[in-house]
Amino acid sequence: MSNNEILEKLKTIVTPYAQEKSGLENFSEQTDFINDLKVNSANLVDVVLDVEDEFNIEIDNDSMDGMLTAGDAREIIQRKMAAK
């Protein structure tokens, strides 16, 4: 799966949790879930669970630790998919 395909799917996943919808317009690797999209931290857990379901991977709590931007998430997804 290409970087862009993963980012597209990520965008779909975070859309319902983004309180700052304007942050979705320029969704990119640099998009910060909390600062740019105002996803609250309780919903960040939902994002992680949705990512697990969508990509059929498991994100351990240590990896979740570093998932602050869409780029971080994309990297973790690729790493976990490669390890399957």
């Binding site: 960040l44 939902d46 709590n61 240590d62």
Partner: protein, 192 residues
């Protein structure tokens, strides 16, 4: 060091489905999950633990000047005294321990975390999404004798908010939180 966190229970109920499979495993350890399972009011305990962890994490970040990270399952918390409208407890993050005080109202849970037992913390909770930053600055300007226009809040390199007065950093720990219609801040107790 100080941290605080507020949870609007109505918004939490609407926006966060902690009963979703896998959800609790991401944020709570085994011991905490067992307590939630056995609780009479599991919703209240979930958000109490959550606010304890968030408040302590904010204090921890401020203490060590750390950047952001997100791994609540690594933070452990326990309640030592539980009363009808309040609870005291402890939160551990790596080697640091924080003392927490939680207050419950019908519509919110608010926790302050403090690294020192000796220093008292005062919190103000606003039942509407008021401009809590302005209110905090006003309080600081009155208590510390700075003109209101000379004080402001900035974020430092680790995105921890700091106070600036007359272009200089003031070493006063503080913490702001928002959720739903509520906002709150915590400060060390200062004499009038």
């Amino acid at each position: 060091m100080i941290g605080n966190d507020i949870v609007d229970l109505e918004v939490a109920e609407r926006e966060s489905n902690w009963r979703r499979p896998g959800y609790l495993q991401k944020i709570f350890n085994v011991e905490e999950r067992l307590q939630i399972e056995a609780a009479q009011n599991p919703d209240l305990l979930v958000w109490t633990f959550w606010s304890m962890k968030e408040a302590a994490y904010k204090a921890y970040q401020r203490k060590f000047g750390l950047g952001r990270s997100f791994n609540p399952s690594k933070i452990s918390c326990c309640i030592s005294i539980k009363e009808n409208t309040s609870a005291s407890g402890k939160v551990r993050i790596n080697r640091s321990t924080f003392i927490t005080k939680t207050s419950f109202k019908e519509s919110y849970v608010h926790t302050t975390a403090n690294s020192s037992e000796a220093k008292k913390v005062v919190s103000k909770i606003y039942p509407s999404a008021e401009n809590v930053k302005e209110l905090l600055l006003k309080e600081i300007s009155v208590k510390m004798g700075y003109p209101l226009l000379s004080v402001s809040i900035k974020k430092d390199r680790s995105s921890v908010p700091i106070l600036i007065a007359d272009d200089q950093k003031i070493n006063l720990p503080f913490s702001i939180s928002h959720h739903g219609k509520f906002s709150a801040f915590s400060l060390p107790l200062m004499k009038d």
